[in-house]
C-alpha cells in the first residue's frame, strides 16, 4: 500500500510577520504587509512598494553554536533557516538543534530525514561587490565597455593587491542556491535525501511534491519541504522590471489598488520576500507520536508549458502546462475537479500571467470555477518568487485546519467567472484544496490537500 504523507508542521515568514500565526492573523484581518520599500530607495525603480520581512534577526533562530555561520548566510538562507526552525517547533519534533547541552534524542534517525528546499538565484550583495569592483578601475587593461574596470587589476597574480581580494574568501558560498538546504540539514541533522530546486515560482510546490514522493517510496520518513527567496535587491527589481512584471506604483502606498489579481487593469505585481518550510511526515509515524496533522498531501503533478514561443514569458493564452500539472495532481489524489473546494493560485497581478493562469483554471474546472474561492495572497504578502510555494502551501494547510478562507483584498474587478473579488474572512467546509503555480520559465506544479482524517 502507498505510504501516505501528512503535513505536521508549518513555518512561514512573510511581510505579515515572523511565523505562521502572525501571517495567518494578518491574512484573516485582511491586512497587507506591502509598504514603501526601505531596502531599495523608493523612486529608484518604478515600483516603490515591497513586502519586506521586518524585525527579523536570523541569529535568534539558530542554536548558539551555529550563530557564527549566520555571517555567511544571504537573506534567502536566513529566511529558510528561521522558517525551518519554526516548522520543527510547530511539528513538535526533536532534531539535532536541540542536542546542544545534552538535549533529548532526535525523534527520527538522521538518515530518515530529508530536505527539499526551493530557491532562486541569490543576488550578490551590491555594496560588497561594487566596492570591490571600484578598487580595480583604471590602469592596464581598462575596459571602456565595463565602465573603466580592469580585469588585470582585479587579478594581480593572486597577491593581496588584486581587487578580488576585497571579497571575503567564502564570498561565493554565500550565494549558492543549495545553501538554504545545506544550512537546514546541518542544523537539524537531516542526512537523508536532499535537494534544491530552482524553477522560480514553481520551486516550492515542486519541492513539496518531491518530498512527498521520497516519503512515499520509503527513502525517508520525514522531510523539510518548501522554499524561500528574497528578490528585494537590485537584481531582483531589475529583472522583474525588465520582464514587465512590476507595477508602476507612482505615489501610491496602497498595494491593493495597483496589484489586482485577474484584473486586466492591474498595473503589475509588487515583490515580497518570504520563506515557507513545512514538515511532511509519513502518516502512520505521525499518528504513532500522537500528532494531528494539518492536512494530508493527496496528490502531486508537474508539467512543462508549451505554446508557440519558448514559454519563458507567458503571452496570456491558457497555460497548457498548468492544466496538465493540475490534471496529474487530481489524478494522483484520486479526486475529481468537482471535489476541489478552494484554490491557492499564483495570482500575481501581472495581467498576462494571470490571464494564462485563469485560462488554465477554466480549462480544468469549467463554469464551476466561478464557485471555487481563489485564495489570492499576493496583495497581502507580495509576489515572493521562489518563496511563494512554501508559503502558499503553508497557508493552504492553515485553511484546511481552521476550515477558514482568509480575506481577499482587491480594489478592482477580476475577470468574470472567477471568485477573486474583495471578500471578508469566512468559515468554509474545505475537503480538498488545490495549490498550484506556473513559473517565469515555464515549469508548473500542483498539489492537492485533503482533510487530515480523510
Amino acid at each position: 500500500m502507498k505510504r501516505r504523507v501528512v503535513i505536521t508542521g508549518v513555518g512561514c515568514i512573510t511581510s505579515l510577520g515572523v511565523g505562521i500565526e502572525p501571517t495567518w492573523s494578518g491574512l484573516v484581518a485582511g491586512r497587507s504587509g506591502l509598504q514603501r520599500s526601505t531596502r531599495i530607495a523608493p523612486g529608484a525603480f518604478a515600483c516603490s512598494l515591497a513586502g519586506e520581512v521586518r524585525e527579523f534577526t536570523a541569529r535568534d533562530f539558530v542554536p548558539k553554536s551555529y550563530r557564527k555561520a549566520t555571517k555567511v548566510m544571504a537573506k534567502d538562507t536566513e529566511l529558510a533557516v528561521a522558517a525551518a526552525h519554526l516548522a520543527v517547533k510547530d511539528a513538535g519534533i526533536v532534531t539535532r538543534e536541540h542536542a546542544e547541552g545534552g538535549g533529548a534524542t532526535p525523534t527520527y534517525p538522521p538518515g530518515r530525514v530529508g530536505c527539499h528546499i526551493g530557491a532562486g538565484l541569490i543576488a550578490a550583495e551590491t555594496d560588497e561587490l561594487s566596492s570591490a569592483l571600484a578598487s580595480s578601475c583604471g590602469g592596464e587593461g581598462t575596459s571602456d565597455n565595463a565602465g573603466g574596470f580592469s580585469l588585470r587589476r582585479w587579478g594581480t597574480g593572486g597577491d593581496s593587491s588584486g581587487g578580488m581580494n576585497n571579497l571575503p574568501p567564502l564570498w561565493m558560498l554565500k550565494y549558492l542556491p543549495n545553501m538554504l538546504a545545506c544550512h537546514v540539514t546541518i542544523i537539524h541533522g537531516a542526512e537523508g535525501p536532499s535537494n534544491t530546486l530552482t524553477c522560480a515560482e514553481a520551486s516550492g510546490l515542486l519541492c513539496a511534491g518531491e518530498s512527498a514522493r521520497v516519503i512515499e517510496r520509503g527513502a525517508a520518513d520525514i522531510c523539510f519541504a518548501g522554499s524561500a527567496e528574497s528578490k528585494l535587491n537590485h537584481m531582483g527589481f531589475l529583472r522583474q522590471g525588465l520582464a514587465g512584471r512590476l507595477a508602476d506604483t507612482g505615489d501610491s502606498d496602497d498595494a491593493s489598488s495597483v496589484m489586482r489579481p485577474y484584473d486586466a487593469a492591474s498595473k503589475g505585481t509588487v515583490l515580497g520576500e518570504a520563506a515557507g518550510i513545512l514538515i511532511l511526515e509519513e502518516a502512520a509515524s505521525a499518528k504513532a507520536r500522537g500528532r494531528t496533522p494539518y492536512a494530508t498531501l493527496l496528490g502531486f503533478g508537474a508539467a512543462h508549458s508549451g505554446g508557440a514561443g519558448l514559454a519563458i514569458l507567458p503571452d496570456g493564452s491558457p497555460n497548457d502546462g498548468l492544466v496538465l500539472a493540475i490534471e496529474r495532481a487530481l489524478n494522483d489524489a484520486g479526486v475529481s475537479a468537482d471535489q476541489i473546494d478552494a484554490i491557492v493560485p499564483q495570482a500575481c497581478g501581472v495581467p498576462v500571467t494571470d490571464a494564462a493562469e485563469a485560462g488554465a483554471l477554466r480549462d480544468v474546472f469549467g463554469e464551476r470555477l466561478a464557485l471555487i474561492p481563489l485564495v489570492t495572497l499576493a496583495p497581502m504578502i507580495g509576489e515572493c518568487a521562489a518563496g511563494n510555494g512554501g508559503v502558499h502551501l503553508g497557508v493552504a494547510a492553515m485553511c484546511m485546519r481552521e476550515q477558514t478562507l482568509p480575506a481577499r483584498l482587491h480594489a478592482g474587478k477580476p475577470a468574470p467567472g472567477l471568485a477573486a473579488d474583495a471578500s471578508p474572512t469566512r468559515q468554509a467546509p474545505l475537503r480538498h484544496v488545490l495549490v498550484c503555480s506556473g513559473s517565469l520559465g515555464g515549469q508548473n506544479a500542483a498539489l492537492v490537500l485533503g482533510r487530515a482524517a480523510s
Binding site: 531599495i40 523612486g43 529608484a44 555561520a69 538518515g111 530536505c115 538565484l121 551590491t126 561587490l129 561594487s130 569592483l133 578601475c137 587593461g141 565597455n145 565602465g147 574596470f149 588585470r152 587579478g155 597574480g157 593572486g158 578580488m164 581580494n165 571579497l167 571575503p168 564570498w171 561565493m172 558560498l173 543549495n178 538546504a181 545545506c182 544550512h183 540539514t185 546541518i186 537531516a190 542526512e191 536532499s194 530546486l197 524553477c199 522560480a200 518531491e210 512515499e216 517510496r217 537590485h234 531589475l238 525588465l242 520582464a243 503533478g301 508537474a302 508539467a303 512543462h304 508549451g306 519558448l310 519563458i312 514569458l313 497548457d320 496538465l324 513559473s439 520559465g441 515555464g442 515549469q443
Partner: protein, 445 residues
Amino acid sequence: MSTRRVVITGMGWVTPLGDDVDQVWQRLLRAQCAVQPVTRFDAGTFATNFAAQSQVPDLATVLGPDAARAHAHAGTSSRFALAAAQRAWNQAGLDPLPKSSRERMGIYLGAGEGTLDFDNYVAANLAGWDAANARVDDAAWARAAQERLTLHTEIEQEPNVTLSHLAHRFGCRGPAFNCMTACAASTQAVGEAFEIIKRGDADLMFAGGTHTMIHPLGMTGFIRLTAMSKRNDSPNTAARPFDSTRDGFVMGEGAGIIVLESLEHALARGATPLCEVAGFGSSADAFRITDIQPEGKGAIAAMAQACRQAGIDPREPGPDGRPQVHYISAHGTGTQENDRIESIAVKGLFGPLAQKVPFSSVKSMLGHLIQAAGAVELITCVQAIRTGWLPPTINLHHPDPNCDLDYVPNQARDVNAQGGVEVCLSNSFGFGGQNDTICVRRWRA
C-alpha cells in the same frame, strides 16, 4: 510500488575534448588533456589563469537554421544543453515522437546559472557606486542597469530557462525540474529522473546538466575559496587527482544529457538500450558548508543506497571472483580533501575488496564541469560498459599514502579479457555536503 526498469537510450555531451560521444571517448582513452590558458576573457593576472574550455556549439549546424533562430537568445550554458540534448535525442531515435509520448516525456536538469553580461553588469555597478559614502546609490544603479542590461540577456541567466529551451525544441510536456546542488547537480538530476520514470510519473526523461563558470566572477569565486590548482606554468599537468602533489581542481565547462526511458517504452518502439540504470543513492553530510564529513559518511551512504537498489553487496565478490562493481567514476576533483575522503569512503564501503575496484577521475583530462560534471562522467561509465575499456586518471605520478586504491593511473585499461565491465558507479559530491551516486549496469533482457 512500481518495479519499472529504466534504461538509457541516448547520450549527448559537449566537453572540452569535443562533442561527439565516441570521438571524445577515444581521446579520453588516449589520455588527452584539454586544459589550456583561458581565452574567453583576460585571466592573465588571475591566480589561476587556465581552464578546460569547450567550444560553444553553433546551433544552426546542430539544430538547423530555423530552430537556431528560435533559440537565438540562448546563453552559453543553454547552447551546450541544446546541442547535447539534440545528440541524445538523435541517438535514441526519437523522431517522430507522438504527442502522447511527448506529454509523458519530462526533463530533469542540473543546469547552472547562465553567464553574467559581465561588462554591462560591472559598468552598472560602478555607475551606482557612491565612493564618497561607500554605498550603492540605488537610483544611479537602477538608471545605469536599466540602460545597459536587457531582458533576454538577464532572463537567460535564470537556471530554469534551459528547461524552457529543451521543452520548446523537443515538445516535452512531462514533469520538469532543475536542481542546483552544486557539483552533485547533474548526477542528482539523473537519479531523480530515474525515480520519476520508475514510479510512473513519466515514460521518458531528458536528464543531465549544463554549466559554465569560466567567466571572471566564476573563476573569482573559486580563487577566493582557494579550491583551484594554481599551476599556471603547467596547465596540462595541473589536474592531478589522487596524486600527492595535487593542489586543487581545474575548471571545465560543458553539458551532458541522456535520454532515460522505461524499458517497456523503449522496447515497444524498437529502441536498443545502451545500458540500464540500476540504482541511485542520495544523502546529505549535514556536517559543514565548507568541509566534507571526515569519515566519508555521506558518500558511503549514497554509494551504499545505489548498490542496495541495484541488488549488489559491495563486500561480496561476484561469481567470477571480481568485486561486483567493475568501475567507479570518481568525483576525484584533485583537491586534497575530496580525494582523500572519497578514497576513505570507497574503502569503507567495499572493505578488503576496495583495492580491486578500478576507480578513476576523468576530471584529470576534462577538468571539473561543475554542475555538468556528473552527467558527463555517467556517460563515460556507459562507454566503459559498452567498450570494456576504463578511462585513466592522468598526471598521477606521486603516490599519496592516503590514496592507495587502483586509480587506473595514466593509461587507459582494456578489461575485456577479465570479463569486461558489467556494473559501474558514478559519484558526485557538492559543496554543502550533497552526495549522489548512480549505479549503471549492462542491459540484459
